[in-house]
């Protein structure tokens, strides 16, 4: 088995696990983590495509590498925004439930949806 196959299987499993966690886990923080896991699997798939495109003295195609670097930074900023929203929801509602119509801790200032 080449490294492309080994890590390719690992990346595909990470995508599947992340998707499963995103759908089934009710806690928002767990959903954020699962979504990051899914994203990490997608980035790894990019790396595998780039590894197969090794040429001209490089072990990995530089174009997918650059796309992944951009993607990692964007994923981080989206995660930071999601966590800030979650902490604000907890602060105003006193709970982190995503259920509509859930009883909240009577926060006078709704954080918006």
């Amino acid at each position: 088995m080449s490294s492309v196959t080994v890590f390719g299987l690992c990346a595909a499993a990470a995508v599947g696990l992340g998707l499963y966690g995103l759908i089934t886990n009710p806690q928002p923080l767990r959903k954020i983590i699962a979504f990051n896991l899914l994203g990490s699997g997608v980035f790894l798939l990019f790396g595998i495509i780039g590894r197969r495109g090794a040429a001209a003295g490089f072990g990995n195609d530089p174009v997918p590498q650059a796309l992944v670097i951009t993607g990692v930074v964007v994923a981080f900023s989206a995660t930071a925004l999601a966590i800030a929203l979650l902490l604000r929801l907890f602060q105003t509602a006193g709970s982190t439930t995503l259920r509509s119509g859930a009883p909240t801790g009577a926060g006078p200032d709704p954080s918006g949806d």
Binding site: G8, C10, L37, T97
Partner: protein, 314 residues
């Protein structure tokens, strides 16, 4: 089977085990710790894939700063009411498992059936490398060949920070992000916060500078600088600046701003948006990168610090 293959299989198995742990473990805090470990080990996979630039980014941003962000959130949400009652019913979970396995199986099939020979843009990146004078192909792609992506990504960072700041409550509007950290001034944390930044700042700037010819660059260097600043903040040696500070806002827009000015300059004086004049390509790229590393370090640090929570005076 060579030793390298065995190492790769073991690494993939450990990473997969951590991914399963992250999804399956009941406690949120344990899942977060699992994900941080996962992020650090994924950086090793990137090294094995011969993508050291990505490995540095993944370790610094995915594992390091992302880990601090998630662990901080998990610690603050520890008192949140347990939502076990909301766990979806068995049928939903079964359907989700079927869908996820289907997608994973489709991806596996796609990986095993990829076309041979694989398409690659590496020769094209090498053929045009002379135009910028940089030897690192990834930096070339990021700063010249696909500079548009990098510029727009800076704008995304800016939008994210605007979004985070917009979540401030009315009394804290324009105030300082995050709680005021207090640590024992003679403790280990304060000691490390005095000792490490002197090394970390040099390493961060070195990683940035060497990115022209070797693995590294503004993203990785910026993440290291951001973590040094956060360490000092967490040890209580300094405070986060109020977000209404003009100097801070200038640093935040410096990177995308300079990028945009150079891009429009290329449009007005040259052939296309972001077209660097050949003679000035390297100085221009370096100039943009210097502005970018400041912007990246400040933005990443402030994204981690979170929404303003205290008014300016306190």
């Amino acid at each position: 089977m060579s030793i390298a293959t065995v190492f790769e299989i073991v690494l993939a198995a450990v990473v997969l085990g951590l991914a399963i742990w992250t999804i399956a473990v009941p406690e949120t805090y344990s899942a977060t710790v699992g994900f941080v470990a996962y992020g650090l080990l994924v950086a090793l996979i990137w090294v094995r894939l011969d993508a050291v630039d990505v490995a540095l980014t993944e370790a610094a941003i995915g594992g390091g700063l992302g880990g601090v962000l998630l662990l901080g959130a998990a610690a603050r949400l520890r008192n949140a009411d347990p939502t076990a009652v909301e766990t979806p019913c068995k049928l939903v979970r079964l359907c989700a498992a079927a869908l996820s396995s289907l997608i994973a199986a489709a991806l596996v099939a796609a990986i095993l059936l990829l076309p041979d020979p694989a398409p690659t843009l590496a020769p094209a990146a090498v053929a045009k490398a002379w135009a910028t004078g940089l030897a690192n192909p990834v930096t070339n792609v990021l700063m010249a060949f696909r500079a548009m992506d990098t510029m727009l990504e800076k704008v995304v960072l800016l939008l994210a920070i605007v979004g985070v700041w917009s979540l401030a409550s009315d009394p804290a509007w324009g105030g300082r992000p995050g709680p005021r950290h207090e640590a024992d001034p003679h403790g280990v944390l304060a000691f490390l916060a005095r000792l490490l930044p002197s090394v970390g700042i040099v390493v961060g700037i070195y990683i940035f500078w060497t990115g022209a010819d070797h693995p590294g660059g503004a993203f990785q260097g910026g993440a290291i600088l951001a973590s040094m600043w956060l360490l000092v903040v967490m040890a209580g040696l300094t405070d986060t600046p109020p977000v209404s500070s003009r100097r801070l806002r200038f640093i935040l827009v410096a990177g995308p701003g300079l990028f945009l000015v150079v891009g429009i300059g290329g449009l007005c004086l040259g052939p296309a948006f972001l077209a660097y004049p050949l003679a000035l390509a390297k100085p221009l790229i370096l100039g943009i990168e210097v502005a970018m590393i400041l912007t990246i370090a400040a933005t990443l640090g402030l994204l981690l610090a979170g929404a303003p929570e205290r008014s300016e005076q306190r």
